[in-house]
């Protein structure tokens, strides 16, 4: 029996604060003054962050690697014991700190961003509910508690995408997100059920300790990992379930930053990293993850090249970066995937909040073709955005460099082709990000009549903090190449079992880094020449385009394909069942039987005179007789 760590039971406070915030801001919605909800909600997330920090030190001081905090027995029947319990270990602590830390910054930013919205109180209630669910997701000590959070964040995502519910298109986007996630969730829940029948438990620690008894490639483990993967693909917007994420940009920008960039969409990566021991036993599934991740990374990056909506560019870039994280998972480098989750949370949240600041300043305009020249008007936003762009492009020493380089070198170890494809995707990323940067902040202002201005402090201070994290966040894990000791990866080792792989020699690694830096430099130069020197503005939507450009700017017609293959036939099937099967076959068939009976019934009907009192009388009399009968006989 592991000794109980003092104070570790405080863990329940971490999700409790945002839950409390949700209840207060939700129930007292009407009574709260403007801004009060925002302050309460932000304070709650900040408190969660502080408790998470305390837990971090408590666990470190105890010298143990993990602790389970059980609140109560949720479901306990016939050999199925599912406690409502939290697992505090290095992986969950990492995620908790990201969620509450970045989350608090985004909450604070939202006080400024949502200031003029009439339903700002509801907004904060839903944001807190999201934070609560997300914390359940990463803190759950078994798959079913994880699943509570998993579906909970899906719900909040639905609510917040459709936050401006007057617009039918936004509602459609919200519903699309929820349904696509639910498709994944069906796979996930089936996976949990297979897990249960295989291991007789759904608790992580019990499953992982039993997993050693299975051979690598055991069919049941492959089945489990594949089913869980379906869930992860839905939640983390991978091919083929990725089209909801770009549409999810219908939500307010802080929502995109928190849910659709920094936290929720990384849940799939978290879940697979959490299940690393199972995935190590399923080489087949890992190969599939590599293919899915790489394909998503490249296809989404390609689409990103031709997007002209500032948030859509970032959305596709998120899909693409999630693809890189999947690639890392598929390579068995789970910790590298989680490291990229961390740095990505910093720089992508920053990019979205920066975009929000720009949109705010442009009075709601999101088309980058109409922006330009904002560098001078909003220097703070510009510099923070620049930092994030450098980070996501993988320029040293910004944070993205360290995490992306880790993934690339793992890809190189696996195969040179994988490396070339992954690097290709990274170059495309660099190009579309600088395209975005140049079009928004350089050149001349193109929208007449707009008066862009720097955002208020409540928005810029979170930007500054996030840019510090984006710049220096990579130092969490300095590899041995730079005389570091890979702290982050080592930290995670107690919770995540990465597949063993050979280290690259330092000379090879330096060669790879220098090569890719050279290429990145060329890409940035090329982008500068196109969008700044020649000041080429992307064509209007209606202008004719070459075939490939057209294909890309129409997102490979994937949405259209889904409509044709799933949505339309589904509607058709629904009509067919109702009009043909139900109303032409089944119902008349029964009526036919009914009519025959009715002829008999017609005779009896003569008894009916339409007098209700008579019916009642007959009935009551009958029942009374019946009772008297009981008593007498």
């Amino acid at each position: 029996m592991v000794e109980q760590i003092p104070n570790i039971n405080l863990a329940w406070l971490v999700p409790a604060f945002p839950l409390l915030g949700f209840l207060v801001t939700g129930l007292a919605n009407k009574r709260l003054k403007h801004n009060q909800a925002g302050i309460i909600a932000s304070a709650m997330v900040l408190l969660s962050f502080l408790v998470s920090l305390v837990l971090f030190f408590v666990l470190r001081a105890s010298g143990q690697n993990e602790a389970t905090v059980t609140l109560f027995n949720w479901i306990s029947i016939g050999g199925m014991n599912i406690p409502f319990a939290f697992l505090i270990d290095h992986l969950s602590l990492t995620m908790m700190l990201i969620i509450t830390g970045v989350g608090a910054l985004i909450h604070i930013y939202s006080i400024g961003y949502m200031h003029d919205d009439g339903r700002v109180n509801s907004f904060f209630a839903q944001m807190n509910l999201f934070t609560f669910s997300m914390l359940l997701l990463v803190m759950g000590a078994n798959y079913l508690v994880l699943f509570i959070g998993w579906e909970g964040v899906g719900l909040c995502s639905y609510l917040l995408i459709g936050f401006w519910f007057k617009n039918p298109a936004y509602n459609y986007a919200a519903r699309k997100a929820f349904v696509m996630n639910r498709i994944g969730d069906l796979g996930f829940i089936l996976g949990i059920i297979v897990l249960f029948f295989t291991f007789k438990t759904v608790t992580f620690s019990e499953i992982f300790s039993q997993a050693a008894g299975f051979q690598a490639g055991a069919p049941v483990i492959t089945l489990i990992t594949l089913l869980l993967l379906v869930g992860a693909v839905g939640k983390s917007a991978q091919i083929p379930l990725f089209t909801w994420l770009p549409d999810a940009m219908a939500g307010p920008t802080p929502v995109s930053a928190l849910i659709h960039a920094a936290t929720m969409v990384t849940a799939g990566i978290y879940m697979i990293a959490r299940s690393s021991i199972l995935y190590n036993l399923a080489p087949f599934t890992l190969n599939i993850i590599i293919v899915i991740g790489l394909a998503t990374a490249i296809i989404a990056a390609l689409i990103g090249l031709k997007q002209n909506d500032i948030k859509k560019v970032l959305a596709y870039s998120t899909v693409s970066q999630l693809g890189y994280m999947f690639l890392a998972l598929g390579l068995g480098a789970y910790s590298a995937g989680v490291f990229h989750v961390t740095t990505h949370a910093f720089f992508k949240a920053l990019l979205f909040l920066g975009a929000g600041s720009v949109i705010h300043a442009m009075g709601g305009e999101q088309d980058i073709r109409k922006m330009g020249g904002l560098r001078k008007k909003m220097p703070l936003t510009y510099f923070t955005f620049l930092a994030a762009t450098l980070a996501i492009s993988g320029i040293p020493p910004f944070s993205g460099f360290f995490s992306k380089d880790l993934i690339l070198s793992k890809a190189f170890e696996h195969s040179i082709i994988l490396y070339i494809l992954a690097l290709g995707g990274a170059l495309i990323t660099c190009f579309y990000m600088f395209r975005l940067l140049y079009l928004v902040f350089f050149g001349e202002q193109r929208l007449a009549g707009a008066h862009p201005h720097e955002s208020p402090k409540v928005m810029t201070i979170p930007l500054i903090i996030l840019s510090v994290l984006s710049v220096f966040g990579g130092f969490l894990n300095i590899p041995s190449l730079f005389n570091g000791d890979s702290k982050f990866i080592t930290f995670l080792q107690t919770a995540v079992v990465s597949k063993a792989s050979e280290e690259l020699s330092h000379s090879t690694e330096i060669g790879l880094i220098l090569g890719s830096l050279l290429l990145l430099g060329l890409v940035i130069f090329f982008a500068y020449r196109t969008f700044v020197s020649k000041s080429i503005i992307p064509a209007k939507d209606e202008e004719p385009m070459p075939f490939f450009s057209k294909l890309i700017s129409n997102k490979f017609y994937i949405d259209e394909m889904y409509t044709a293959v799933f949505e339309k036939p589904f509607g058709f099937l629904s009509d067919f069942f109702y009009n043909k099967v139900e109303n032409t076959v089944l119902d008349p068939a029964v009526d036919e039987i009914g009519v025959t009976t009715a002829r008999v019934g017609a005779l009896l009907r003569k008894l009916q005179q339409g007098n209700m009192s008579f019916y009642l009388f007959a009935m009551v009399a009958g029942i009374l007789l019946f009772i008297i009968f009981i008593l007498i006989v």
Partner: protein, 488 residues
């Protein structure tokens, strides 16, 4: 004795109400009696098990007036006595014609339902089974909406036909009992009927229950009946009557003709799963909100039927849990449907929209019920459906996968309906819609609280039915060897 009291409270109240002319008094008395009934039923939970009540009755036929219950009956009784107060509250502050008759009929229905769940022999069961139909028939016929004459007639004939088969089955079983004939369930279950007989007897007995639940393709009375029925009528139908079908099947089929059940097991499961998908797909394109929810209810019930025929531990636990969960959720849904119709004057989805702008609190409560209906974790629906899918999985992964499709399809049509009603911009002419009244909160908040509490802490319900489930799940085991091959 307490069983007799529980059985008679609604009936006697109904009788007393008949001459009362003041509508408000009628409603208050009915509500009060249903609350007393609920407390009396609840007392059974804490004194479980209470000895049955039995007096000899028709000696020549070997029939006693015997009441009793086990864990399964108890769940059904709890559901009934829990839902009826809400059914009565649904009428508070609303104009209704001939209130005294209506409420008397509802109370008679309640007594008959309770009788079904308490009956210890097939004869008594059958009498109560038929008695539920009569008051309900009048409720539908006299207080129903458009087309009530034809629809009610169809409903009546449909269910009556099923009942005739059941009656025949009961008489046949009766004739098989050795010595002095009897209709006691306990005697029926010791009959050891030849396997070949069980195979055909299965359908004779099952058809009545299949219609009541309903199971595909015996469901065609349901959508039109639900759509036309007055709110309180549809609440009884969807909330309790469907469970009566489930209860009947559990009582008659599994203990008495286990080999017949095993023989047809996969057939019925497949029919049910067809029903799940069929009803869910149809629901998506319905324009009438009430019809949409009727099909959604059919999908959920079909999943429960599939679970029943899988008959393993998890499926049964899930089924009985879902009995409660579905009852509470569907009542809340139909209450909201009523509110929407009152406020907008229509049930046609294309004519609605933007109500959230005018009635934000109603939108929130509606959404919460919708979430319960699509089985979001921490609602009761999730616990029930998770266990059911787990049980289905034990039989076949494909059963589980198809049953699980409700999770996806349910989300599609329920969120679609929610969006059409509540979201979007408000329609012209909806200007004077107001938000919920106090009475609406009194109905909806407790229902939603039950949905959430059962979802967060389901354990008491599991414990209540544990013993019965353990008995039940073993019923099919001894007959597994003697079974002829299924000609499929």
């Amino acid at each position: 004795m307490i069983l007799l009291v529980i059985l008679l409270i609604p009936f006697i109240t109904g009788l007393l109400l008949l001459p009362v002319r003041n509508a408000a008094t009628v409603k208050q008395l009915a509500l009060a009696s249903s609350l007393v009934n609920f407390l009396a039923t609840l007392s059974l939970v804490f004194t479980f098990p209470v000895s049955g009540y039995s007096v000899s009755w028709i000696n020549s036929l070997g029939v006693n007036f015997a009441l009793g219950y086990d864990g399964i009956s108890l769940i059904m009784l709890l559901l009934t006595s829990l839902l009826f107060p809400f059914i009565f509250m649904a009428g508070l502050k609303r104009e209704q014609e001939n209130t005294n008759y209506l409420y008397a009929l509802i109370l008679f229905t309640q007594s008959a339902l309770i009788g079904v769940f308490l009956a210890q022999n097939a004869f008594l069961f059958y009498i109560f089974w038929e008695l539920t139909l009569i008051p309900l028939y009048f409720i539908l016929l006299l207080w129903g909406g458009d087309g009530r004459r034809n629809v009610t007639f169809k409903f009546f004939i449909y269910t009556l036909t099923g009942s005739l088969f059941l009656l025949f089955g009961i008489i046949y079983l009766y004739s098989l009992t050795p010595g002095v004939h009897t209709t006691d369930f306990s005697a029926f279950s010791q009959l050891n009927i030849p396997v070949n007989t069980q195979v055909w007897l299965f359908w004779v007995l099952f058809i009545a229950f299949a219609i009541k639940m309903p199971v595909f393709p015996f469901h065609t009375w349901q959508p039109s009946t639900y759509t036309m029925a007055p709110t309180q009528g549809v609440m009884i139908l969807a909330g309790v009557m469907t469970k009566m079908g489930i209860y009947g099947a559990l009582r008659f089929l599994f203990p008495i003709i286990p080999a017949g059940v095993l023989y047809w097991q996969n057939t019925v499961i497949i029919l049910s799963l067809i029903g799940v998908v069929y009803a869910s797909v149809i629901a998506f394109r319905q324009t009438n909100l009430k019809t949409l929810i009727a099909f959604s209810s059919m999908a959920h019930i079909s999943l429960m039927v599939a679970a029943m025929f899988v008959l393993n531990y998890y499926a049964l636990q899930g089924l009985l849990f879902q009995v409660l969960s579905h009852g509470v959720t569907i009542i809340a849904l139909f209450y909201i449907v009523m509110l929407i119709e009152e406020k907008t004057g229509t049930l046609e989805l294309p004519q609605m929209g933007g109500i959230k702008l005018l009635a934000p609190n109603m939108a929130i409560l509606f959404l919460l019920v919708v979430l319960g209906s699509i089985a979001l974790p921490l609602t009761a629906g999730f616990v029930g459906e998770f266990l059911i899918i787990t049980g289905l999985f034990q039989q076949s992964i494909w059963f589980a996968a198809i049953g699980g499709i409700t999770m996806v399809l349910g989300a599609i049509y329920m969120l679609y309906a929610y969006q059409r009603v509540m979201l979007g911009d408000k329609k012209v002419g909806f200007g004077n819609i107001t938000d919920l009244k106090p009475v609406d909160y009194i109905v909806l908040i407790p229902l939603i609280t039950i949905i959430l509490v059962l979802g967060i802490y389901p354990q008491p319900v599991f414990n209540l039915v544990e013993a019965s489930v353990n008995t039940m799940q073993n019923l099919l085991v001894p007959v597994a060897d003697v079974l002829p091959a299924l000609p499929l």
